[in-house]
Each structure stands twice: as C-alpha cells, then as structure tokens.
Symmetry: C2
Subunit: 222 residues, 2 copies
C-alpha cells in the first residue's frame, strides 16, 4: 500500500511518519491510525527518527517534528540564493501593497514557493513556504512558463488558480535574460480589484529589480 515502484520501503514509511507529524503532534496510537502502519513498526520508525533528531517528543510522550529539521530546512533554503536575496525586497513589497507576497521558482512541471510573507489583513491569501503549485494557473505560473520576453513587465490573473483571489507577478531574470523566478502579490479580489496590475504592477516590477540586484544577477545583461 502506497509504495512507489523503485522506492526504498523503510524510507517510504519513515517519510509517511514525518508527513503525519507535519500537521500536528500525535501520540503513537494516532500515528498508527494516520499512517496505517502496525504499531510496532510505527513505534520503531518514530523512535529511530527521534534518535536522528528529525522527531522529538513533548512532555506527554507525543511525537512531533524535531530540531534537526530546522537546520536541514535552513540549509535547504540556502540552496536558493534568491530566497535570501529576496527577503528585504519582499518585505517592502508587502508593506507597500499590504497583501501577501511570494517568490516562486520552477521545479519540473510545478512551481515552488521559496519565500513568502503574509498580508497583515484579517482576510488574506496564504501560500506556505515550500508549497508546490501547478504551472497551469496563476499569474506566477504564466511568468515562469513564458520562456522568453513574450510577456510584458508583469502578468496578472483574477480568480484563476483559486476563486476570489487575484494576483500580479513579475519575472526575475538572470544576466542572460532568462527567467529564474517570479515575484507575486496576491489577495482577495475585493481589495485588489479586477485590474490588480494597475494597482500593484509597478511595485512588483520594482521588487523584482531589487532582487536581481541583491542576487548579483544584474551585471553583464543588455
């Protein structure tokens, strides 16, 4: 049940355990129900993961994600120099627009959010760090799939990926002009209007420029 063809069995199960703990801490019995593993197996895997620091336990003995994932997650984030270069520009973009902002990169046939800040409004869009979204919908998707300069300065979408949500995205290019990422602003249509590009386009483009500068991509380009 649920093992990939060429997979390594133990690993599949171990990662099932981590996935089960991603949402909330769980007792062993809960873990058994959620993962569908036999009790002895779930216990052995969870304690093995614990020895490696990927899992830890609270006072009641419940399992939860461990400290090792902090450092690994940190290290993973650092493999995209863009993410750190984008921290400040994204913050100002969020403050300028008041809406949630994200940085996406293409990964295979999906796009991944490698940096995000949330709107301060009560009603806001949330795109968690590491989220994998389709390349088929959303303004960021359009930016990432348009290989060359077919798009203008920015792209917008209204209720495309999710009902009631509009977004504006601008490409981040390397010195050769290739699109390496997309900066996005997204929020409820009620606030962004149906022409979000008019309100936010300039801000988003500006943030993209800043990211290029911070990442040292602006050098030899045209």
């Amino acid at each position: 049940m649920g093992n990939t063809v060429g997979g390594v069995g133990v690993l599949d199960k171990a990662i099932d355990v981590l996935a089960a703990l991603e949402l909330q801490p769980r007792s062993l019995s809960e873990l058994v129900v959620v993962t569908g593993l036999p009790r002895a197996t779930a216990h052995r895997l969870a304690t093995a993961l614990e020895q490696h620091g990927l899992v830890r336990r609270d006072g009641d003995g419940r399992f939860m994600l461990g400290t090792r994932l902090l450092s690994l997650g940190q290290a993973a984030a650092e493999t995209w120099p863009l993410a750190t270069a984008a921290a400040v520009p994204l913050a100002t973009l969020r403050d300028e627009t008041g809406e949630s902002v994200q940085l996406f990169v293409r990964d295979g046939e999906e796009r991944v959010c490698i940096a995000a800040l949330q709107s301060l409004h009560g009603l806001r869009t949330i795109v968690p760090l590491g989220a994998r979204l389709p390349l088929s919908a959303g303004s960021a998707a359009r930016v990432l799939t348009e290989d060359v300069g077919a798009i203008g300065e920015w792209a917008q979408s209204v209720g495309e990926r999710e009902a009631g949500v509009a977004s504006v995205s601008a490409p981040v290019r390397d010195s050769g002009g290739r699109i390496v990422a997309a900066v996005s602003v997204s929020g409820p249509i009620e606030r962004t209007t149906k022409q979000p590009g008019k309100r936010y386009g300039a801000f988003v483009v500006n943030a993209a420029r800043q990211i290029e500068v911070n990442a040292g991509l602006r050098g030899a380009g045209a």
Copy 2:
C-alpha cells in the same frame, strides 16, 4: 560503520546522505566518498530521497537538499510558537545592540537554537538555526538550567563556551513563572566589553518581555 545500536539501517544511511548534502551540493561520486557508502547504495538512496522531494538535482545532475525540507522545516519551526512570537522582538534587539541574537530552548540535556539573527558586523558570532549547544556553558545555558528565580534579570558569560565570545541572556517565562526559553545577545569581547550585562542587559530583558507578550504568556502571572 556509524550505526546506532537500536537504529534502522536504511534510515541511518539515508540521513547520512542528507547530512552530506547539508553543507553543499554533491555529485554521486562525491556523495560516495563523503558517506562511505557503496556507489549503488548511495545512488539508490539519493534517488529514493529525490522521489520524496527531500533531495533535488541541479542541471549538472548533482544532488542537493530538496523543496520538501522547506515545508518540513517550516512546520517544525511552527511547533515552537515562541519562535514566531520572537521574530519581531529579536529583530529590534539585533538592531539595538548590533550583535547576533538568538532564542534557545532546553531539549533534554542540551539547548537548541530555535530562532536567530546575525550581527551586521564583519566579525560576528554565528549560531545556526537548529544548532544544539551544551547546557554546561554560556549565559543562555545558565538561564535555562536555573529552575526557579535564582538568577536575577539576566545572566552573562565571557569566553565561557567559546574563546573571545561574550554573551548576555534573559529568561522567557510562562504565566506560571517557569523558564521556557532564553534570549541571548552574543559578540566578540572586543565590542561587548567584559561586562556585557551592563551594556545589553536592559535590552535583552526588554526583548524577553516582548516575547512573553507576543506569545500570550503574560496573563495570570504574579
């Protein structure tokens, strides 16, 4: 070699692979050298991890940490509500002092850094997110081990955990008065002087208060 007594073999090796990729991307052959695994095994584990998104590959086929670790790391960070509550107070503390700042919690017989910001100076102390430090040295260690109110407002240490480094820490308490975390400022003795508490004590204590407020810990307490 290097397998813990009660451990799960495959997991040990798989995590060795992740650890090897933590510092830098590596080709398969490099991976073999670093981990000491047979080529076929290293390859199988790395590709298995890739299927789960814990590992991805760059254009040259080299392995590096994957996007899944972003979301897991994020989820792990959220298991300490303190970490998010501390984000803003830590930033202001860093700006006020100009030095690196950290938030530590006790975990067994060690302490773990669950939030950190680095000094902007060229010479600075670095404590990476998720780092595990001893409970036997450093001002933060003293704060975390002193169970009740034996310490004053803050604790300081000079060249205790590491030569040339001084630090000041203040406890973060819950509504019952129990110490749940320690906020620290640390930097080279040359800048902090040998009485860092005099310079930074008030700031650190203030940051600790702010964190308590943000985390909703200040309610019923004395």
